[in-house]
Structures are given as C-alpha cells and as structure tokens.
Symmetry: C2
Subunit: 296 residues, 2 copies
Amino acid sequence: MNETVGFIGLGVMGRPMAKHILAKGHKLVGCNRSRGPVDDIVKAGGTAAETPADVARRATIIITMVPDTPDVELVLSGPNGVLTALQRGSVVIDMSSISPVVTRKLAAQVAAHGGTMLDAPVSGGEVGAINATLSIMIGGDAEALKRVRPILECMGNPERIVHIGSEPGSGQVCKVCNQMAIGGALAGVSEAFAIAQKAGVDLSRVREALLGGFASSRVLEVHGERMIKKNYVPGFRTRLYQKDLRLANEVAAAHGVAAPATAVVTQLVNALVAAGGADLDYSALGTVLFKLAGIA
Amino acid sequence: MNETVGFIGLGVMGRPMAKHILAKGHKLVGCNRSRGPVDDIVKAGGTAAETPADVARRATIIITMVPDTPDVELVLSGPNGVLTALQRGSVVIDMSSISPVVTRKLAAQVAAHGGTMLDAPVSGGEVGAINATLSIMIGGDAEALKRVRPILECMGNPERIVHIGSEPGSGQVCKVCNQMAIGGALAGVSEAFAIAQKAGVDLSRVREALLGGFASSRVLEVHGERMIKKNYVPGFRTRLYQKDLRLANEVAAAHGVAAPATAVVTQLVNALVAAGGADLDYSALGTVLFKLAGIA
C-alpha cells in the first residue's frame, strides 16, 4: 500500500496505535492538540501536521481517535477541520467511541465532500492498543473497508476486525451493545460477590464454580479476579465507561428502547465517580455495592 | 461402595439423575409423591420406598431433589420425614435449589439426629441431568463430601463438582450467585440486542463481534443465539428461574445487600411470566424488552 495514513488524536490509545502503523512500514502523518505526542511520532519515523486540514491535504486514509462526539465533530467539520481540505476518494476512519446518530450525519458530510467514512470503534483498552490486539467493529462501505483493512490489521487481531453493517453508525451501535452487555454482566457479578462475601463464602471458590458453568464470562474471569484481589488499577477508566454509558442511554432513548439494567449500571457508575473512583478501573463498580453492604 | 443410595424426588431432574446412579452399579431406593417415576426406577433396577422415612431406614446416603424450600423441609422434618428414621452416620445431600438460611437450620437438625447434611445444588438444567454433565456446588463437611463424591460423579463432571465451603448453605449461596451473575448478563445482552434490532444492525454480526472481546459470555453465546433464532423451547423454564430469583432477593435482604440489577431482572421475569411465558426458556426475558420497543 502506497497511501499515506493520517492519524488525528495521539492520546493513550492513539499514540500506540499510530506507532503500530509506522512499525509495519506505512507512511504516517500525526496530529494532536498538544505537541509532545506528535514529536514522539516524528521520532518513530512519522511526520507532523499542524491541523486536521493539514492532515487531509497529505493523507488519503485519515484516522480519528479522540475522546468524545464533539471532538470528532470539531476535528472533521470545525475550522481547519478535515473536511476543509479532504481529497476526493479519501477514507476517513473514526475509531473513537461516539454517538451513532452523529456518526450518520458526519458520514453524509464526508460523502458530500467526495470521501467515504467508516466508523470503527474499538474494544480492548490501553492494553489492546499497546499489544495491537484490539477488537474493531466497523460500520460503512465494504469496499472502503477492504482498502483500509491492512491498516486496521496493524492495530487489531485480523479475526476480530468485524464488518457489522454497511449502514454508517453500525460499528458505533455495536460498541454501545458491547458496553451494555459488559455492564449487565459486571453488575450481576458484583451483586453475587457482595452476597457471597456477606454470607462468609470464599469468593475464589464461587468464581471457580461459576466459571465452569452457564454464568461463565470474561467479566467474571477478569473483573471477578480484580474484585477478589481489590486491584482497580486501570485497565479501562471509569470516567470513560461513564461516557460510553451516556452514549448507550442516548441511543436507547433515540431508538425507543427501555434499558433498565443499563440504567442501574449507569447509576452505580455515577456513584463510583462521585466517590472519587473516576480513574479506577471500571470493575470497581462492585465496590459501590460492597460499601453499601458494609464490606470493607 | 456398598452403601445404598436413597433418592427422594424423581421429577424432570431427579429421575435421570437417579438412573445414572443405578447405571453405575449402585443400589438405589427411590421415592416420589406420584408413583409413575418410582415404577420407572424399579424397572431400571432400583427398589421403591413409600415415604422419606422408609428411604431413611434403608439408605445411608439420602439425596433430595425437590422443587422448593418448603418441599425440602417437609421431606426432611415433616411427618414420615427422613429425620423420623435417620440412621446415625448417614449423609443427607440436598440437591434442590433452596434458601441457604433454611439450609443452615436443616443441617443443624440433621446433625442433631446423628447425620451430616450437604447442600449440593446443581447448574446445567434438564440437559445436564440427562447427560450427567451437571455442575454441583457443595456446602458442608469435607469428609462427608469425600465419602459421597463417587455418587455425585455419576451425575456431574468431576471437575465441576466444587466444594464451596464447610459452612452449611455455602453451596446454596453459590447457586444464588450463579443465577444473579447469569441474570445480569442476560439483561445486558437483551438490552443490547433490542438496540441493535431497532438500529437495523444485524444481530448475528453483533453477537460475533462481542464474542471476540470482553463482552464474551456463555449467556451471549447460547442465549444470544436463542434470541436470534427466537427459539425459547426450554432449556430451563422461566417459572424455575423466577423461583431462583425469589431466593436471590431473599438472600440479598437477609444479608443486607443491595442488588439493583437482580431487581431489574426479577421484574422482567415477572413481566414475562405475566405475559404467559412461564414455560418458555428463561432467555425469553429479552422478548419483554423487544415487545416494549415494538420489535415483532
């Protein structure tokens, strides 16, 4: 592949992801609000861009990896944004986790400028970004995905790069589903562990028994162990999970879906953040219930 | 092993379980409220007992597998109950899913009569009973468990027969934890699938993507597929899950634990039963949310 990749947003996730693309021999131009991470990319063999528009002038595959919906809107449609300078035929890949509804609007804007937008949110957190083992959920045109797949494969497991649907926003819907499924499982395990502790039953035995049966889940396996060891070093920070749950509730409302378990998970996360847990791993959700139950 | 096994409660679960014990060459005496299943056991090489007391006179390992807490109380402590004729040194194994609190009381009564009680609820449903692949969660004395383990291994996978704790009721607490962990995961997957459907995203793709990552669970794998195929043939009946959730809420109250996700799951199950779903597989919980969202 001879195309230059642009990478906008070189934070905790974006920086290692961009470096993996460089490491596989691709040309890459990096852009970030603060200068430090850009210098780092230049050291790793990339080049620096001052603005998203500057990226769009020099790259035909443009990745955005920024915190939230308004950030993507600003980077794409704002002043000095990607759309002010997009080359016809370019592919914009938004790997942030943002609103599927806004994603559809942005995809239409990119199309109106002669480009194609894919939404490609990830799962796997900092560890997945650093180890290039991210799961990637993609919405948008299959041909565009085929073209950029070698770039995505620099960052994630090939078999976990899943085309969810051709409709823009499908990847973001899937990401929301992912966070909702995790949330329900996490609340269930937390409540189960609260009861086991109060009943004086060894959590490790409960975890072992449950992993052998129908209650088995990655949440029970990994977060269950975190709860037993009281290890809440992130991992995935509660403040980011809180954002994802806000999206989930927005999407539920937009589509007329009642999501009562997600509502409970959201309230527990709100309580955790209020108690000072924003920068703990989100598996600390259980501690809210443990404290309520008087467990040290 | 030369001991005779008594088996009280030859229903959907108990009958195949008792037959597995017979098939492994053990002596077994069966007892059931209605006569049909007892005749079946006799045909399979067992003998028949008229009452639980009759079982206790003839067997030194006595298994109970009945629907609910009052049934176990009746069979053990009622008129013509096991305790009226228990031989000293006998082991009573309650494999029903019942209240851990009542279990502690019954274990003390059995001990006062010179016996030992183990609580050993199972997970795996009718299929697990028929295929002898049950998971078994055991509370009570380790020596007694060692003695009866060959009998338990007739019904469940050896590596899934887990001693949860020496305290009576530990197995029942673990079973409650199991149902709570499943419930949270099930509600999360149901809400995620409701959103995916309303957003026009292919459920199979969502399931596939989520199974590759942190949202992966047996519930997503098996019940997710049931939801996609709209196959709610049990499996495990909603009316039984409703009973288990009643226990979970009782245990939460008894131990001063707030279990808001379990509360949501309970309400959804109540709604499913009210809508006529008591004999559907409990994965039909999702249909309550699908209907609310106007999904056919």
